[in-house]
Structure formats: C-alpha cells, structure tokens
Amino acid sequence: MRHLGFVAGWVVKAFVVVLAITILNFFLIRMAPGDPAIVLAGEAGAADEQFMAQVRQDFGLDKPLPVQLAAYVGNVLTLDLGQSYRAQRPVVDMLFERLPATLLLTGTAYLFALIVGPLLGALAAMRSRTVFDSALMVVALFFYATPIFWVGLLLILVFSVNLGWLPPFGMQSLIPVSGTLNHVLDVARHLVLPALTLGLFYVAVYVRLTRASMLETASLDYVKTARAKGLPEWRVATAHILRTALLPIITFAGLQAGHLVGGAVVVETVFAWPGIGRLAFDALFQRDYNLLLGVFLLSALMVVFFNMLTDIFLRIADPRIGGNS
C-alpha cells in the first residue's frame, strides 16, 4: 500500500511539474527577440511582406499568445507535439529519429563513467596521500577542468589524424558495410571517441565525488567499530564505507541520468553525431518553437522519471530514507 501511494503521488506530482515546465518554456522561448519568419528570411537572404506573413500564418504565429499556448497545451495532452517550422515535419518523428543516437552516446558514456569513476575513486580513497592517489587526482582534475570540445578535438587529432585508428566524426561509414555484425562494429568504432570524450568528464566527477565521500565516511565512528571487530580492510571498505559513501554518488547519477537526452550538445557538435542535443541547439537559434518545446518536454520527462528512480535506489541503499513517510 505504501508503495502504491508513493507511485500515485509521484504520478500526480510529475504531471503538474511537466505541465508547469511546458507553460514556462513556452513563455521563455517567446521572450527571445525575433521569430521563425525572421530567421528563415535571414537565412534565405531574401524576403518580402508576403513571405513573412505567409510563414507566420502557416505556423499560427499571427494569433494572440494565449490562443497559441492553449492550442499547444491542448495538442500536447493528445500527444501531438506539432510540426517543426523549419523542417516541415512532425516533431515527434524528428525526436524519435534522433533519440537512439543520443541515448547510445550518452548511455555508453554514462555506464563507462559509473563503472570506472567510483572504482578509481574508491582505490584513490583507500590509498589516499600516496603517489597513485595524487596522480589520479591530477588527471581527474585535468579532465574535469578542460573544455569538453577541446578534449574531443585533441582525441581526434591523436587517434584519427596521427594514428588513423578511429573515424573522426559521424555515426557510421558512408559506404554501407554488409552484415549486422559488421554494422555494429562500424557504429562501435565511431562511438569510441565521442563516448570517451563525454565519459572522461563524468569519470572525473565520479572519481572526485567517491574519493571525498569515502574519506569522509571512513572517519565515522561505526567504521572504527568495524575495524575494532577485526574485519579485514577490504570488507570494511566495501561493506561499511562504500555502501554509505554511495549515497551522494547515486544522487549525482540520478541527476546526470536526467541529462541523458540533452547533455551532449558539445560532443554531438564536435563529432557530427546525429543526436538530439544538436537538434535542440539548432532549434533554439532557428526559433523553431515547436521543435524546441518538444525537446524540452522530452528532457523534462526524463528528469522527472530518473528523479523517481533515484528516490527508489536511495531507499534501497539506505532504508532510513522515506521510512517514516
């Protein structure tokens, strides 16, 4: 019963939050000066009144703002996200066309970071103040502080231009490869550099987070008790320290998971990865309201969903959380 109430309450909350975000986004976008007619005319280097009026009429931009909002929200409730002004195609089609590429990239980077980051962080914490720890922290700081596009270009320069091992951009080779296995390998080869670029940044975050969290936990009284019981050091580290130290990591992983859809704009740009982040970025500059709102909506749904998932994981890791609600 308690779990049912949790889920039901969550669904209501999620609905209100997403609706509020949609309305907020709608007005936020409209506050930016200029509209799609101006951008389309600007790109064409040609315009007349007829063209501008036609564009605004086609997109319903000539109607009062509240009418436009009501129409949009009404459409969203029936799962119709409208047409992209620029591409003249349904927004839903465009989102689902780009979503797999983004999820493949961010998902790979995410898993890579979640496995490697806490592992290295735990090792660093167990050997704190050694050369290994210092070296690792310097490297982590480097990837944390370096602009992500620069890391990307550097990796391209080394692995594509100089060594010629990996393709510099795109998601698959132009000349189609035969066979499913070859196709998978082809995409995998294209995936390595962008996933590494994005992953290294997150690894750096997790390493620092895990190390700090573990060192803090290690000084707590119950850990001393565990040691005093005579448990071997690795048992203390994994069963006692890590479990508690995991809480901030889960919280951060949950936050990051919410960004799986829109968090890779820079990497998608450098590596010409046909993902959704770039779609949003371009849509913003083109004032493609419907498309941008669509991406926002999808991102909002992801964030809300992963927040719930995080809540659940936190309850498992630390039964004290939510115990008395």
């Binding site: 000066p33 101006i38 951008v39 005319a41 064409a44 315009a47 063209f51 951009f169 450098v270």
Partner: protein, 535 residues
Amino acid sequence: MGLYRTMAIAAVTLAGVMAGSLSPHPLGAGTAHAEPMQGGTLNSTLWPEPPGIIIGVNLNAPTLLPATKMFEGLLTYDFNLSPEPVLAKSWEVSEDGLTYTFHLRDDVKWHDGEPFTSEDVVYTLTEFIPEVHARSRPTFARAEVTAPDDYTVVLTLKEPYGPMIRSFDAIGAPMMPAHIYKGTDIRNNPANRAPVGTGPFKFSEWKSGEYIHLVKNDDYYLENRPYLDEIYYRFIPDSASRALALELGQVQLATQNDIELVDVDRLEAMPNLEVTTKGWEWGAPISWLEMNVRREPFDDVRFRKAVMYALDHEFIRDNIFFGWAAIPTGPIHSSSPFYTDDVVTYPYDQEKAKALLDEMGLTPDANGVRAKIGLLGLPYGELWDRLSQYIKQSLGEVGIEVTLEASDVAGWGSRIANWDVDMSTTYLTTLSDPALGVARSYITENQKQGVLFTNTSGYSNPEVDRLFAAAASEPNPDKRMEMYHEVQKIIADEVALAWLVELQWPTVHSANLKNVVRNGLGPNDNFAEAYFESE
C-alpha cells in the same frame, strides 16, 4: 532579325575586360587536363542542414547546393554572367527588349520518366514562382508567359527589364514538374521530401542529422553525363571538424562559409587540396556597416564620411578576413559588368575623420568622446565578432564611442528589420544584376519596416531612385551601364552604407576533383561535368 542578345554579350564581356575581372583561364580552377574518369563518389560538406531542398520554398544557401544538382533552369551563366544554354537550347530577345522566345530541348525527361515540355515552364513561371519564390516573384510578375507549342515558350513584357535575361538560372527560376505540383499545396507537397527534377542527379535519401544522398540520373539528356556516380552532402556542424575532414580526404569539397578563413591558407598549402574564390559571381556578396540615417548623427553625410575615413579597409581585409576579401568602392561588386571604380574613395585618414566631426560641431568632451553610438554586429561567429571589435576600436580612436550589442541571428534580424538600431554589420548578395540585388538596399520605395534585406538604413535620394528605376527598364545596354555608373558615384559620395569588404567565399576541393567551378554559378552548377581525374 538583329538580336539584342549578341550586343548584350559583347557589351558585358567588354566591360568585364575593362574591369579586369575576366580570368586569363576562362574555365577557372578545375579545368580538364587528364582523362575524365566515369564514376566515383563525391562527398561534400553542407552546413547548416537545410530546412528543405526545393528552391523557392526555401532559398537558404544549404538548400541551393544540393537542389541545383536535381533541378535546372532554362539557362546558366558564365563568369561574366552571360547566358549559356541548359534546358533551353537557344533563345531570342526582340530588339525592343519586350519579347523573349525560348526553344526547349526535346529530349529532357523528369526523374519519374515524364517528358519535360513548355507546360512545365509556363507552370513554373506563372504559378510556382509567384506562389513561393520570394526573390524571383517580382521579376516574373512583369511577364506574360505563353507556349505556342510543346517546345517553345514566349515571355512578353510591358516594358523592357534589364535583369530579365539573367533570371533563368536554376536558382532564380528552377523548372518544376507541373504534373506533380499543379493544383496542389506547393509548400506541403509530398514531393518536397523526395524531389523530382530534370538534373544530372536524382534524390536518393535524406538522413536527418547525417547526410543528403544523390545518385546519378542514368537517363540524363547529355550523353555520358554526369561522370560522378553519387554525391553525399554531409552535415558536419563543427568548422574545425570540416577542415579536418578535407585534410583526411573524407570529404572532397567544401564551399561558402563552411571553412573558416583562418584555415584556408593552411589547406591551400596541402598538395592534395585546391582553393578557388571564383564561382560566386552570381551572388557577389558585399559586407557593410549600416548606419540608421533616421537617427542623429548618421543623418549627416559628414558623419558617414568620417566613419569611412576612420576605418582601415586594408587592415580589415588582411587581418580580419585573412586576405580572402577585396575592398569595395561602392554599392556594386567589382565582378559585376556594371561596376566602376571612378567614384569618391575614402583612404584611411584619421585626421580627415576628426576634421569632419569638428566641422559638424561634434567636438571631444573631457574624455575625448565626441559621440556615443551602439553597434549590433552580425552574429555569425568569431570573425564577425572581431570585425565589430575592430570597428569599436577604430571609431574610438577618432572620438566615437561605440557600445557593442550582442544578439543571436533572430534578435539581430528582428532589430534591423524594425529599424531599432544605430549601426549594424551585415553582408548581402548583390546578385546577377544591380536591379535585383543592389537597388533593394538603396531605393526609397523599398523601405519596408519589419522586412529584412530591404532599405533598412533609411537612405533616400530622389535622383538615385530615378536612376535605378530608369536603368532597370532601359533596353540599351550602354545607356544602362552609364546610369549605373552615375548611381555608383552618387551613392559612394553620400556613403549610403559604409562598405567594408567584398567577401570571397573560398571553395576548397580535392586536387583530383575537376570542373567544380566552371561558370558564374560555381558550386551551384549542376555538376554534370564534374569528375575525378583517374590516377
């Protein structure tokens, strides 16, 4: 029957020689030497991803590059903008300049197998273009179009119109299939996503975020053409990655703004790449600093002259555009047959600028500031930001304090179109004829609030209006030329706009890729003749 066409070509060519714009190698870069190879895949960059690939419905630069391979005009134009046959095998213009007769090829088929006839031409010029093509709409509104038979089309004008003969290329008047578009909602026709044209390449696939794929049209009307098997237009969003792709040979062609000028010298030095700036004659882009003459102090011609004197145009060309630009003298591009350099010029001279400002009564205050103004720079990236910073610094040196105003493209366009700006930088293609691409920025009639690329500066001079109007409908090419020379003198003297540079868009291509730029349409040619040299 004496044909005006011959006269016009002679006059235009002569003007080209006089202006020094005729290349010693008429075919320019990529001229054939070795044996052309049949086959091969051309990969080109294309950025940004176009909104659509039907010319007219969209007129963006990235729309035109792939679309001109699938769609053709009746004519095309050489480097001097003289007409050459494409879908029309010959044409006549009556001596009074009122009747244009086109004889069409009778062996052309649409990509779906239907024959191309005069019905398609009439449909394109009287229905398609008036409905969607913002740039050509006014031109063809002047003509009545009839088809005496399947392969003849006659245009009848009420008064002569100089630019008419230069309006039949694939960009200005792409021939569209009447059997697919007639009676439909053009903007939402399903064929817009899978175009049917007459060109040497057919549409194959558009993979969103990745590429547009075109394949050879096996039924093309020219024997053994095209040479290439297929063309991929790849969307690579990062300019550094685009340059890298050229270096690695993953793409063999990049043009317009695809390569940052800072990278061009490096690419040109590579043995496997070639660079040419020819092929944008039909566009002839000029960048300028626009001053809103509705506001003080820009309404005073002395202020505008002072601004011109205060800017070191050579510095701008060499250090901001890395030498890939030329210095304009006035409103008409130096590659145009109507260009003259016999106008007032403004060599860099800070003292002259200060003297003019003094004369206006704009004397320096305690901080040395004479006037405070805002500058809305073109938000097209770093190069344009540096240009804004240079203008701020230069004008600051003569006592004009400039505040830089930041924006993105939509905000920039909206403010300029609504005249809500002091000064702004921009560039605009001046097109194949002054009546099409130049007059629009200077004539009083074209001050249209809310519409971009009109006369947004607010400049107005009845004599300029009269000359542009008279020149557009003057049938005698020599008289036309004279009028455009006259108008250039007036506009340059009054600094209607502070011209900065003539842009040169470098086309970078593999050394073994030939015939990329073979006429005035440059990379917007149909590529029927483009080929890889066999090794």
